[in-house]
């Protein structure tokens, strides 16, 4: 075990550092919300600069705009890029999930058309899978696509779509034959998000922010040539997309945030004395720290597998479930320590309380988005530990006959 780079890795890291030093802008304008075209421009400019130097999609073939490099190189680049302040990245979903799907299941014309502009950051993609009735059950998609001459007519609704409001294209999972069993009878399309038949509405989250959207389709007409994969092959194609999602090195970064708790502990007193000397709090800090460290080194193990050219083990699947839980527990504990003061949500009057409240209001989303705690435990139990699937009542029956409670 060794934290040090191999000579080869060290050389690459040095090269990357030098390049970032020379090229990385020092501007980050916070998260992409519903009104930040400027920020988006900065992101696009940075993406293009990376692409032109082969640092965008490092592992992709050069002739598709990639870097033609190795997985360990993109890991190292990611580490170094994260050290410098750069615009945030609205391309992850497109380049991480949608475009790879086009590359594996799309026709040659589409590959020609879409891959390079996406890598260059000229075009942004969103993924249109989840639906109100679906949630964790992606294969329950009801958005209908009906043949209309050479075209398809699409009606329905998607939900929880990140970046739909600034995306140019979307990868859309539709139901083309409700008489088929659930996992058959679906078909995948790419669509133009600027089409007037597509309406994007922001979702108002409990935290007040809006990072996701609902997307409505009203008589959206798409050409059959926009089909990605065969008719009725939608689920197989979707699995490719979701596979790419799971392969991306899972969260767990960011540390435990115990530093902020230390700060608080030095700031407040319990009934027994200074909180910094409170053994109960100290034990909790140790437990949070150990979990955050565990995730950090678990990520290192995943990176090691990558740099050895192996497929990462299942250990990367634990990141979100652990970090979300720690976040919620830590925020709640910190506010409890603030006592009455924890009620205040005003950074000027009570900066720490306000900060922990932000975490408190974000944590429930983290425990749900991208797979709830419960779904992730199921995935670990089934895919990692080999436990049987839950009993399924939604297989081998026509989709339209599956109980849906409505």
């Amino acid at each position: 075990m060794d934290f040090n780079d191999t000579p080869e890795e060290a050389a690459y890291r040095a090269e990357v550092r030098a390049w970032l030093e020379a090229n990385a802008p020092r501007t980050r304008v916070g998260e992409v919300s519903h009104d930040d075209a400027p920020n988006l421009d900065a992101s696009k400019a940075w993406q293009r600069k990376k692409a032109e130097s082969g640092y965008a999609c490092i592992t992709w073939p050069k002739d598709w705009g990639g870097g033609g490099g190795k997985a360990w190189q993109s890991v190292i680049f990611g580490q170094e890029e994260s050290k410098v302040t750069t615009p945030i990245n609205p391309f992850a979903i497109g380049l991480g999930m949608c475009v790879p799907t086009i590359m594996s299941a799309g026709n040659d014309a589409d590959k020609e058309r879409f891959v390079r502009p996406a890598v260059l950051g000229d075009e942004i993609w969103c993924q249109l899978f989840s639906e109100p009735a679906g949630g964790s059950d992606v294969a329950a998609a009801r958005t209908r696509a009906v043949r209309d001459g050479d075209d398809w007519m699409i009606n329905g609704q998607k939900v929880w779509t990140s970046g739909a409001h600034y995306s140019d294209f979307g990868l859309l999972l539709t139901r083309t034959d409700p008489d088929q069993p659930k996992h058959k009878g679906m078909t995948m399309f790419w669509i133009d998000m600027h089409d007037p038949a597509v309406e994007v509405r922001p979702i108002h989250q409990m935290s007040g922010a809006s990072n996701f959207n609902e997307v409505y389709f009203t008589d959206l007409r798409v050409k059959d040539s926009q089909r990605v994969g065969g008719v009725g092959e939608g689920w197989r194609v979707a699995l490719v997309t979701l596979m790419n999602e799971r392969l991306s090195v899972g969260g767990g970064g960011g540390g435990s945030g115990h530093g902020r708790v230390f700060k608080l502990a030095n700031d407040v007193a319990t009934l027994a004395g200074p909180a910094a000397k409170d053994a109960g709090l100290r034990e909790k800090i140790a437990e949070w720290f150990v979990q955050a460290e565990g995730l950090k080194y678990t990520t290192y193990r995943t990176m090691t597998a990558l740099s050895r050219g192996q497929t990462p083990g299942p250990e990367s699947s634990i990141g979100k479930i652990v970090s979300a839980g720690v976040m919620q527990d830590m925020a709640h504990t910190a506010l409890d320590l603030e006592d009455q003061f924890g009620i205040i949500n005003d950074p000027a009057l009570a900066p720490l309380a306000a900060a922990f409240q932000t975490t408190l209001m974000a944590a429930p989303g983290l425990r749900i988005a991208g797979g709830t705690d419960e779904i992730l435990r199921n995935i670990i139990a089934e895919r990692v530990l080999g436990m049987p699937q839950d009993v399924r009542l939604d297989k081998n029956v026509p989709f339209k006959d599956i109980p849906s409670g409505r």
Partner: protein, 371 residues
């Protein structure tokens, strides 16, 4: 042995639920949530006053209904269920209890009838900085009978007419009655994590203040008031926790995934069972607290601390796991889960955090063991 509401008390609770379901539906709560200029619903407050609830535990001679604290607890449970956006806790559990506990006859006859009639909103002002409430924390002071200093946060301080303030006179602390409409008082409304309840920062500059209770007894009296409020707040928390469980139950039955209700999956079933278990433990501890409060038993400090610790845990757990049960919907502004999540946190801090109450509980147990 009779360890449950009497039939009369059950009737009162049923009536209270019916009343609040019609007068304090979730739209009323959201009305306050969505309007920054509002920190309570004046109409509901008036209606609640007309019910006589503000004086439920106030003796008839002072214009109250002269019912017991268990009746008040039954009402509290329903107020908690409905997330009623009114200054009930501040006025009734804190200020009324403080006046009944420590007030002179003159003070009682002056304030209790006004409170019972809904003419006076009260607030309890103890905190000055982050951390558990200790006598050392108290800097607000009385000079020449006038109060100067800062109290923050003060729940309902933005709308209250009367404050009970913990302040220092010389080396000792006492409680003081301060009319907030008077001179020398400035209030600054504060944003909180539960906008359905108003909070203010109160700044006093030589404000008129009248002592409540014995000089130097401030901290001791404040703790007695907190014990009483903790029991009544525990009922609000139990009411809220039960409602959160009911929301999770009905969503688990109507929401389908993979062809069946999510309530048929053990991950959800056992989560709901865990909520139920904590809620029942909280209810039982709250009942014991109510008994101790009603009978003025010596066990009140232990009973109140136990009731609060159990209730804080139950409502927090029920609110966060009910939200989790709702999945993505639960994280939206439109669905009500976050209102319970916010209120659980607010009620968990307004009388001091659970951590401080655990310490108080163990200290009391040690005292008991020593005795």
């Amino acid at each position: 042995m009779d360890f449950d509401y009497t039939d009369d008390q059950k009737f009162l609770r049923t009536e209270a639920r019916r009343f609040l379901e019609s007068r304090s539906p979730i739209e009323v709560v959201r009305g306050v949530l969505n309007d920054d200029s509002k920190s309570y619903d004046a109409g509901l407050w008036k209606a609640v006053a007309e019910q006589g609830w503000l004086g439920a535990a106030i003796p008839e001679e002072h214009g109250g209904l002269g019912l017991g604290h268990i009746e008040l607890a039954a009402i509290a449970e329903e107020l908690g269920r409905s997330l009623a956006p009114i200054p009930f806790a501040s006025t009734v559990y804190f200020v009324t209890e403080a006046v009944m506990l420590a007030g002179s006859d003159a003070q009682k006859s002056r304030w209790l009838p006004k409170i019972a009639a809904g003419e006076v909103i009260g607030c309890f002002a103890t905190s000055e900085r982050a951390g558990a409430l200790t006598e050392a924390q108290v800097q607000a002071r009385i000079d020449g009978g006038k109060l100067s200093g800062v109290k923050i946060p003060v729940t309902d301080g933005d709308i209250a007419d009367l404050a009970v303030v913990l302040a220092r006179e010389g080396s000792r602390t006492s409680l003081y009655l301060v009319e907030l409409v008077g001179a020398g008082v400035t209030r600054e409304t504060i944003q909180t994590l539960d906008p359905t309840r108003g909070v203010a920062k109160l700044t006093f500059a030589n404000a008129a203040a009248e002592r409540l209770g014995e000089a130097g007894e401030g901290m001791a009296l404040a703790e007695q008031v907190l014990n009483r409020a903790a029991v009544l707040l525990a009922f609000e928390q139990v009411g809220g926790a039960d409602r959160a469980l009911e929301m999770a139950k009905s969503y688990a039955l109507e929401r389908y995934a993979f062809g069946r209700p999510i309530g048929s999956y053990q991950a959800i079933k056992h989560k709901l069972a865990d909520i139920y278990i904590k809620n029942e433990l909280a209810r039982s501890n709250a009942y014991y607290g109510a008994w101790a409060l009603q009978t003025g038993a010596a066990e009140l400090p232990v009973a109140a601390a136990a009731a609060r610790v159990a209730a804080c845990e139950a409502f927090w757990f029920a609110a966060k796991e009910s939200l989790q049960t709702h999945g993505g919907m639960g994280y939206t502004w439109e669905v009500d889960c976050h209102l319970f999540y916010r209120r659980a946190q607010q009620l968990g801090l307004v009388a001091g955090g659970a951590k401080a109450w655990k310490e108080r509980l163990v200290t009391e147990l040690e005292r008991r063991n020593a005795a």
